[in-house]
């Protein structure tokens, strides 16, 4: 699923190449970042990107409804794309599990992308490792069922966002290592400040063995608009960028 996110992160640059448009669902991706690191904005951008691919709808699961649509998604925010994003707000882990367990009973076209924002909001209710693993496994199983419905070559992707604590908190490490068992691909959002006075995040995408890591600088402007540029070290190296963009393709 790293490809969808890679496309989102490459939107602001000219690094988009033709062969990126093949809609192949990669391994499930875990999006990690601290509070306010732009996880929801990135997830929503991924939803819009997938909604524009002319495939099935996008299923967006979150406990709390989005307060506002992230600004700056610009031309992508067309009503036809928005219509294809279906929001579900399971209020508790029981409801979420119920939804995932009965996903095969839903009618209509199978989603092309399954997104879960705020996984941590479902994990606060005194869950043990096995329950956490069950939720992760069930998410994978649901996406696998959607893939089975959509047919070969057009699998359903899965991206799950998890809010991590401040760095150095060991409790997170166990949870993340447990989740990594189920999510081979990861994207980390970390606060960096290359320029004083500018809030910049470093997005590091590890596609899970399907290619090299890639990094971007994500800046949120005062109006909330998200601006993505390749991380400076990579900016002057088009070959690296090219290699990473085609790395996920067979």
């Amino acid at each position: 699923m790293a490809e969808t996110l890679r496309r989102v992160l490459n939107l602001g640059t000219s690094a988009r190449s033709g062969d990126e448009d093949t809609a192949e669902a990669g391994p499930p991706l875990l999006l990690l970042g601290g509070p306010g690191s732009g996880k929801t904005a990135l997830l929503f951008a991924a939803a819009l990107e997938a909604a524009g691919e002319g495939r099935g709808p996008v299923l967006f699961l979150t406990r709390r409804p989005l307060q506002s649509l992230p600004p700056g998604t610009g031309a992508a925010l067309d009503p036809l794309r928005l219509q294809k994003i279906r929001f579900q707000y399971p209020p508790s882990i029981q409801e979420l599990l119920q939804f995932l367990c009965s996903a095969h009973e839903a009618r209509g076209p199978a989603p092309s992308l399954l997104l879960l924002d705020g996984l941590e909001e479902y994990l606060v209710e005194d869950l043990g490792p096995q329950d956490t693993a069950y939720l992760a496994a069930l998410l994978l199983d649901t996406a696998a069922h959607y893939s089975h419905q959509t047919g070969p070559g057009q699998g359903c992707g899965l991206i799950v966002a998890l809010q991590t604590q401040e760095e150095g908190v060991s409790g997170d490490g166990l949870l993340v290592s447990l989740l990594q068992r189920y999510f081979p691909a990861q994207c980390w959002l970390q606060a960096e400040t290359p320029d004083p006075g500018q809030h910049c995040l470093r997005a590091c995408l590890d596609p899970g063995g399907l290619g090299p890591r890639a990094e971007w600088c994500v800046v949120f402007r005062p109006n909330g608009e998200m601006q993505v540029t390749p991380w400076p070290a990579q900016a002057g190296d088009p070959s690296l960028d090219k290699g990473s963009s085609s790395g996920g393709q067979p």
Partner: protein, 147 residues
């Protein structure tokens, strides 16, 4: 061929063995002894215990009308466990103990061998790095041997 160029890995070997077993079952409705020996060689004692569950007809594949699948495993204690078909998960305590907790990276002594109820799950422990398909193939092949 891609496998050969990357060097033969254990998961690839298992994948091939299970495919051969599935083919053999489709042809003759039974698994040849050499395949069972290979299973034993790869998985150790877990293979016998897993096959024992099959012999007891303790594994049920449940398929929804829309094609979603899950396995139900009846432990010898009479408890029912659920295994997801598409990824590694079992609801039994041994999975939590041997597989999940082991991945915590804590230095724990290896669990002593437990009752047969839980022993089938050590299969998943040994196979945790294998592609999800392996297990399904194994279960399918095993289930096929019943017919």
């Amino acid at each position: 061929m891609a496998v050969a160029s990357e060097g033969l890995t254990l998961p690839a070997v298992v994948e091939e063995l299970l495919s051969e077993m599935a083919a053999a079952v489709q042809e003759n409705a039974r698994i040849p002894d050499e395949h069972l020996s290979s299973l034993k060689f790869i998985f150790g004692p877990s293979a016998i215990q897993a096959l024992d569950l099959v012999d007891r007809q303790s594994i049920t594949l449940i398929t929804s009308p829309s094609g979603r699948r899950a396995y139900q495993v009846l432990g010898s204690s009479g408890k029912m466990y659920t295994c997801l078909a598409s990824c590694h998960y079992c609801s039994c305590p041994a999975f939590a103990f041997s597989v999940l907790r082991k991945s915590d990276g804590l230095l724990e002594p290896r669990a002593p061998s437990r009752s047969k109820t839980e022993s089938h799950n050590s299969l998943f422990q040994r196979r945790k790095h294998y592609p999800p398909k392996s297990r399904e193939l194994f279960l399918q092949a095993s289930l096929g041997s019943l017919s």
